[in-house]
């Protein structure tokens, strides 16, 4: 049962990656949009009945966010309010401004990564770009897997904080 949930969650995360990237690039550029989106996602989350939310909170949140992005782009609610997949192919097309913004965003992210401690940066890049597992990274750096997780978490939150300051 639990493993079933796990599978679904991983699946959803992978499938939604593109939309989430798009969310970051397009929404983060506009503070008001980002705020609105979070606000609306929050209220929808509150309306979800606890048992179903608890079964898979991450997948639930991503789907809500994705539906909201769909609405933002098309001005229409998704065909159904269910959690079924929504076609987002058309909304994934980026405008010229989006592309420019995205390039800037990537540049900033690279620079912010460069300011992390070498271990945090190594953990993030090796895991994400090079697909290394926690234990492979732990072996390469000579630390425990618990430390690898700590590097990842610290690195991500530092990136987030630094990037936020670009937009305030």
């Amino acid at each position: 049962m639990a493993s079933d949930n796990r599978f679904r969650e991983a699946d959803v995360v992978a499938a939604q990656g593109k939309q989430l990237r798009h969310y970051l690039r397009s929404r983060l550029a506009n503070e008001a949009d980002a705020q609105d989106l979070a606000q609306e996602a929050y209220f929808r989350l509150l309306r979800v009945k606890d048992p179903s939310l608890v079964r898979d909170p991450v997948a639930y949140l991503y789907r809500i966010a994705r539906n909201l992005i769909h609405e933002l782009y098309t001005g229409l609610p998704p065909a159904s309010d269910s959690l079924d997949d929504v076609e987002l192919a058309d909304t994934a097309t980026m405008s010229i401004e989006d592309v420019a913004e995205c390039g800037q965003q990537m540049e900033r992210l690279e620079r912010v990564l460069d300011t992390l401690s070498p271990k945090c940066r190594a953990a993030i890049v090796m895991h994400r770009r090079d697909g290394m597992t926690y234990s492979e990274i732990a072996g390469a750096l000579g630390v425990s897997t618990a430390m690898v997780k700590k590097y990842l978490s610290q690195g991500l939150s530092r990136c987030r904080k630094r990037l936020r300051r670009f937009h305030e």
Binding site: A2, L24, A38, E110, V143, S157, C159, R160, R165
Partner: protein, 368 residues
């Protein structure tokens, strides 16, 4: 002020979001109900989690980061054993080896990082005249601007000297005394209840048995931070180098030590012997070990002073209105270019470089 408070609150939420995000990568590791409850705390919680998730996806596409081999090399050489310099005398090196026996608690199961955290940091800025070294003294160790160096002490403790620091080792049968003339040092103190470990600074003596603490003295102000264990701070008149206290001497009984516990920080203002105790930020206190500088709403003037400890020629401010500009962030101590670039990106300041290499910061005109 309310903007500061809300920025700090957002930072806390971002930290929590990142923790959740990473632990949720692992199937079943965390309570989903707990996470769901966390998400429902506020829209900002939802937002930070989504931002972290989006960031995670974005990192996936990075191409210009170094190769795995280079990343590993940088991570491993950073603040690691590789820069431990042997003092050269065979008995000192031999003495350093049985360290794990004297500190069984520091062995199996504890990561390198934990071992570092279980170390003592002593920061001390003082006039150089106290410690003007006679040349080629084997007990005297100094570092140049930007240099960091680790060396084993005779009892198996390890000291890491930060930039522009001077340390003299003056061990006796009763005491493990070291004198920090200037600069900053991280002490990983081997346990020896029979022989206290003491750091003698200009106006105070900081004493431990086998423990972890941080002493920071700048322009006469002293800050002691306990990373682990218990530390006594003696500030009575004559307690430090400037008074009657000398290496090997026992502490006069008239001194009433201030006892500090884990996570506590004591501040002694210049010219006072009054000790004010507060909670500490330990991570920040030992960040220099990883060549990180951590600033949390620190005035630019002080931020620049920090960078100048590691870099030459210096950064200066040409505009007094910039002095008190609060700066938050984490920077590499040996990469002030990124810091200057950060200031420019944020439209906080612009920079020019003088012929002698000095980098001058100026305020940005609002309409430019």
């Amino acid at each position: 002020m309310s903007k500061d408070t809300s920025a700090k609150r957002s930072d806390v939420i971002a930290d929590e979001a990142a923790d959740w995000f990473v632990s949720l990568q692992e199937p079943g590791a965390q309570s989903r109900a707990e996470f769901a409850a966390w998400l429902k705390t506020s829209p900002e919680h939802v937002r930070e989690f989504l931002e972290i998730a989006a960031l995670w996806e974005e990192v996936n596409t990075l191409q210009s980061q170094p190769s795995v081999d280079d990343l590993v090399a940088m991570a491993i050489t950073d603040a690691d054993d590789s820069n431990v310099v042997s003092l050269g005398t065979p008995e000192l090196t031999a003495a350093a080896i049985p360290r794990s026996k004297t500190r069984p608690e520091a062995t199996a199961g504890r990561s390198r990082w934990a071992a570092l955290a279980a170390a003592a940091v002593v920061l001390f800025f003082a006039g150089m005249q106290i410690m003007r070294p006679p040349a080629a003294d084997p007990n005297l160790h100094t570092t140049m601007t930007g240099e960091q160096r680790s060396l084993p002490l005779p009892d198996g403790s390890i000291v890491t000297l930060n930039t522009q620091s001077t340390l003299r080792v003056a061990y006796s049968d009763e005491y493990r005394d070291v004198i920090l003339g200037e600069g900053e040092a991280l002490f990983d103190v081997a346990k020896d209840t029979a022989r206290p470990f003491r750091v003698i600074t200009e106006h105070a003596v900081v004493q431990a048995v086998g423990t972890q603490f941080n002493v920071h003295q700048e322009k006469g102000d002293l800050v002691v931070t306990v990373v682990e264990g218990i530390v006594d701070v003696n500030t009575g008149s004559g307690a430090g180098q400037s008074g009657r206290m000398r290496p090997g001497m026992s502490m006069p009984l008239v001194f009433e030590p201030q006892r500090l516990m884990v996570g506590q920080q004591a501040t002694v203002a210049s010219g006072s012997s009054k000790v004010v105790v507060a909670e500490a930020t330990i991570d920040t206190a030992i960040a220099w070990q990883e060549r990180r500088l951590v600033f949390d709403f620190l005035p630019l003037r002080e931020v620049i002073a920090e960078f100048n400890r590691y870099n030459d020629p210096p950064l200066t401010i040409n505009d007094s209105e910039l002095d008190l500009l609060p700066i938050s962030g984490v920077f590499r101590s040996n990469d002030r270019e990124s810091f200057v670039q950060f200031l420019q990106e944020m439209h906080l300041a612009k920079s020019t470089t003088r012929a002698d290499g000095t980098i001058v910061l100026q305020a940005v005109d609002d309409d430019s």
